[in-house]
């Protein structure tokens, strides 16, 4: 099964089972386990979704159970950028630069309607970027305005499943694709 073919979560596991070298998959499993168990997010919040992201790290929902509690203020130390909030035209170059400053492997979660499509500001607004995928590639979309903390947790767990299916080849392709953009 090709990496490009799967679009839903169910086929992620199929993709893993669809055969590869025993030694390579074992090494991949170890690497992926390490990566998915310590996803460090960047402290990046532009608006309302940022408060729900803080709430996800707070006692009731507790991000830390999944190894995500270490919020990094510097993009160079972060693995995943959760785009929490609206991105406007003035912010777009800054976001691109933040993404470029992150070291590989890096992942992007678009949190909330604004980051996905512009949300409530899709119509009539002259300054809002209509979806962050125009600027940087997105791995997981978390819908909601703002999404509940449970929704963000679910999105982050989906990202972990995505990381679980990676292998050396797909990682190389991904890096090359990011570099060419």
């Amino acid at each position: 099964m090709k990496y490009e073919e799967f679009k839903d979560n169910e086929s992620l596991e199929l993709l893993r089972e669809s055969g590869s070298n025993v030694l390579l998959t074992t090494i991949d499993d170890v690497i992926n386990w390490g990566r998915k168990s310590s996803l460090w997010p960047l402290t990046f919040a532009t608006s309302c979704c940022g408060i729900e992201m803080m709430q996800t790290g707070a006692p009731r929902h507790d991000f830390a159970r999944f190894g995500m509690e270490v919020y990094r203020a510097s993009p160079r130390q972060a693995d995943v950028i959760v785009i929490a909030g609206t991105i406007v035209n003035k912010m777009a170059p800054v976001l691109k630069r933040l993404y470029d400053q992150m070291s590989e492997p890096k992942y992007v979660v678009a949190m909330g309607a604004c980051a996905i499509s512009g949300g409530p500001f899709f119509l009539n607004s002259y300054s809002v970027v209509k979806g962050v995928e125009h600027i940087i590639p997105v791995d997981v979309y978390v819908p909601g305005c703002p999404p509940r903390p449970e929704a963000l947790l679910y999105g982050m767990l989906q990202l972990q499943r995505l990381i679980e299916t990676e292998n050396i080849k797909s990682r190389k392709e991904r890096t090359a694709k990011n570099d060419s953009e």
Partner: protein, 374 residues
């Protein structure tokens, strides 16, 4: 010997500029501050805004009055209830609609709950800015309980869109009274922890007392409202001076201090939580029965003219100014947001303090960046 040391210190002689933000954990969002330093002393702070400018005022001109409610939620998302209320009151004033007591009282209770959760978040993030990670956990633990009450009645956690012109979107949940009473009882019991962790903490007091002092004259001339203004002795509480909704039938104190430093701006918010709880206490048993909305026309058209409404949000005075030309869309909407005006004083009160104090002072003014840019 001293002369040699003076030469070695970089930047002691001339000012140098550092850039703080837009992505910086202590600016609470995407505020960018260009800070001129002499050594470690702040000489000039120049805020650059617009990194989250979404054009809400312009968008309002092409949508109806009911739809504007949903945009005001996203301005100051921690005072969403009060922002909704401001537009609703302006529209109701223009149409001369008489609002029943039930709606007024529910709006007041919701606003005060909103104020409590906003100050809880302030406490959590202010403590974290000054290096106290525990505050973050304690503050947000209690905030969840208010959000639960909101969620049960309105369906939303913080973007609620609960008020609409002519009343409320939904009736209150049957459990509402019980849950609010439980919360007030719980929160009265744990508020001493807030004092024990921060208010009496020696490190916190050293870092906040006498820092960023704002005099009464400056507070008035800069137009600083809300708890920040009241910490300087500026009596600016709209709830007292121009009561709206049910504020004219409750007894509460306007929290006023004369010192105007970072510590008292913090203290004003803690005391306001106590006042808010006493307001809710007075109202929660007196919600009369009745409808939760007044029947309005499906398409609301304001008569030609100018309409103005002031409300007190958690951060200060929010003014809504609507010019109508008789259509279903407003001709012009202007929001006077408290955060934008409060930001103006930052340069004035941080001058000649250390750069670490800039974080404390900016934290104590409690900015919500989307409200600055709109």
């Amino acid at each position: 010997m001293e002369e040699i040391i003076k030469e070695v210190v970089i930047g002691e002689q001339e000012e140098y500029v550092i850039n703080m933000g837009p992505q910086h954990p202590s600016t609470h969002g995407v505020l960018r501050l260009v800070v001129s330093l002499k050594g470690e002393i702040v000489k000039n702070v120049e805020p650059h805004i617009g990194y989250i400018h979404r054009g809400i005022e312009k968008m309002c001109e092409s949508i109806t009055y009911t739809q504007i409610i949903h945009l005001t939620d996203r301005m100051d998302y921690l005072s969403a209830m009060m922002n909704n209320e401001a537009v609703c009151l302006a529209v109701e004033k223009a149409l001369e609609v008489e609002i029943p007591d039930r709606i007024k009282i529910i709006r007041t209770i919701m606003s005060e709950l909103s104020r409590i959760q906003s100050h809880q978040l302030f406490w959590a993030s202010f403590g974290m800015d000054l290096g106290g990670q525990t505050c973050f956990f304690y503050g947000l633990r209690d905030r969840e309980k208010v959000l639960d009450i909101f969620e049960e009645t309105t369906g939303g956690r913080m973007i609620v869109s609960y008020n609409c012109p002519g009343g409320l979107m939904y009736d209150i949940h049957p459990n509402f009274r019980k849950r609010v009473k439980e919360f007030i009882k719980y929160f009265r019991g744990v508020l001493w922890e807030y004092d024990a962790i921060l208010t009496g903490n020696v490190i916190f007091r050293e870092r906040s007392i006498g820092i960023g002092t704002l005099s009464l004259e400056d507070a008035i001339s800069y137009g600083i409202t809300g708890p920040s203004g009241r910490a300087s002795g500026f009596s600016c509480d709209i709830r007292k001076h121009e009561p709206y909704s049910a504020y004219d039938r409750v007894q509460f104190n306007e929290v006023l201090y004369n010192e105007g430093d970072t510590y008292h701006r913090y203290l004003a918010r803690i005391e306001e939580m106590r006042e808010s709880m006493s307001i809710i206490d007075q109202l929660i048993d007196n919600i009369p029965e009745g409808p939760y909305f007044v029947k309005m026309k499906p398409v609301i058209k304001l008569p030609e003219g100018e309409y103005f409404q002031r409300v007190e949000t958690a951060r200060g005075e929010l003014d809504v100014f609507i010019i109508s030309d008789g259509n279903k869309n407003p001709y012009r909407v202007k929001f006077r947001s408290p955060n934008f005006v409060n930001l103006g004083v930052l340069n004035h009160i941080t001058k000649d303090f250390k750069i670490a104090d800039l974080i404390a002072i900016a934290g104590s003014l409690d900015f919500v960046i989307p409200d600055i840019d709109r």
